[in-house]
Symmetry: C2
Subunit: 188 residues, 2 copies
């Protein structure tokens, strides 16, 4: 169809904005999903993101259509699967905060879950991306729980990440190669 130039431009701009908006805060998730897909294709690991829990209110089951629902609180972490015959489990979060990671991002149930998996000797950790610092860290469950149990603060300072966590370097393929770090950590 032929639109006057002006309209076409506006449409293009709108679309670009949409894309930027859509990606905002989703980069880490996309990077991890791509990484997991790479691991699957190479048969290195089978790790999936769990669907977001939803509380259904109005459903038309014949059409398989949901007319009213609400986002629910997750009781576990977002990602889990199998790596080298072991159970692996982690949560991934982005923050624009430059001084630390606000603990409000992890719910009580999730902390309990991380503690359970750590006690059950699963491979368990957080991946935290500080978007403004352009840094992504892997913090092992033991160090995360240690902080929570011993320091009564609402934010884990960036210094704690610098000291205890492992930096995940950006790569082309796979994007966020967190298993490389797990391979090199002696005491997961």
């Amino acid at each position: 169809m032929n639109y006057p130039n002006g309209i076409r431009k506006e449409k293009l701009i709108k679309k670009k904005e949409d894309i930027v908006y859509k990606n905002r805060g989703m980069n880490l998730e996309n990077d991890i999903n791509e990484t997991n897909q790479y691991y699957q294709e190479k048969e290195i690991a089978f790790i999936y993101k769990k669907p977001t829990p939803i509380k259904l209110v109005k459903v038309d089951y014949k059409k398989r259509k949901i007319n009213e629902a609400y986002f629910d609180m997750p009781s576990t972490t977002d990602y889990n699967g199998i790596y080298k015959q072991k159970y692996i489990d982690f949560e991934a979060k982005e923050t624009i905060n430059t001084k630390g990671f606000p603990l409000i991002n992890i719910h009580k149930h999730q902390i309990k879950h991380i503690r359970n998996i750590y006690n059950a000797k699963g491979i368990c950790f957080l991946i935290v991306r500080f978007t403004k610092l352009n840094k992504t860290y892997l913090l092992l469950a033991k160090d995360f729980i240690n902080y929570i149990d011993n320091v009564k603060k609402t934010t884990i300072p960036i210094k704690y990440f610098e000291e205890k966590a492992y930096m995940i370097k950006d790569k082309f393929i796979p994007r966020v190669d967190y298993l490389e770090i797990i391979d090199n950590v002696e005491d997961v």
Copy 2:
């Protein structure tokens, strides 16, 4: 409040019907969820049902409200977690069929997933309840895949379950003690 006897009775009956309706086709899922909760409380295993995948169409993010969405096809199995440091993964299905388990109940992606987890040496199986026969079986991934690869039929006959699968006896607590079977199977 005081209602005439007649109304109170009708209300009670309605409630009973609701419960029966609610449980129809959900018994196995409820039994497994209760069993998993028992395992969690006793710190035996941490196994969760994944949320149902949803395709979002119209969302009011401010209110965290979903105004239009559709049920999506699951690409993995419904349950996974950790048991004795190992990755455990299974699908649970009920059928009213008395002659066998129709394979239409398991999607292609799920079969691929079961194959992947089996190859990666995870503990992987199906729990199938034949509601009209009042029997619940645990069929190991290897026997499930063996059937699919070698027999070109659309239903796994009940005889195959009787020969290859393990019957899960009804218990009071936990309801569906599938880990008891895993403990006693030599070659998972």
